[in-house]
Amino acid sequence: MSEPWEEEGPGTIKKFMYVNRKAPYGTIYALESLEVVLIAAAFEQDVSMVFLDDGVYQLKKGQETQGIGMKNFSPTYRALEGYDVEKLYVEAESLAERGLSEDDLLVPVEVMGREALTELMEEQDVILSF
């Protein structure tokens, strides 16, 4: 006899958005967000990730963490595509405030203005903030 979760097929697919607002190493938020995103992707949900405020620093190219003795988890963002997490949005205003541009980011993203992001948030079923 098969288990109930095997019988249900794909089930309901909801739009999940993960809002990332923290820099990568000073707190645990960025790493925890990645873990949760990968879990949701495993359940075949419609996943998108937004990076705004200091969250844009998570995607900065060239992170080298040997000197602080912490795991460099930034390559994981490049692996997200393999888990069908392909919708990455970065807020233009947050990049500009920090003197960064799209070229400073380690993965292809869609740079979007604050107003457009607000609209995108309105379309979601679930929003989880980190």
Binding site: Y25, Y57, E97
Partner: protein, 102 residues
Amino acid sequence: MSMLHTVNKSPFERNTLASCLGHAKAGSDILLIEDGVYASVRGTSHEDMVRSAVGQHNVFVLGPDLLARGMNPEQLIEGIAVVDYGDFVDLTAKHDKVQAWL
């Protein structure tokens, strides 16, 4: 009496650096560590605040924390010096007191 001020929060997320600069006496040293290092690069909206701090203090940034966050030492605001952990110890020993702004 001299003091070393350490700042470990991003200037975009907290007002820790601004508060430190408002209370640090001219001539005291300031060391940016952890997420505080984001204040040290050129081209941010906090650049003017940091530039005026460099005029009144020795401002240092901890190299390992800078590199971990993908920041290039060549992007620093002029006058900010990169230090390593040994230099951090020396700075602590050089001053009578350390004030850690959290």
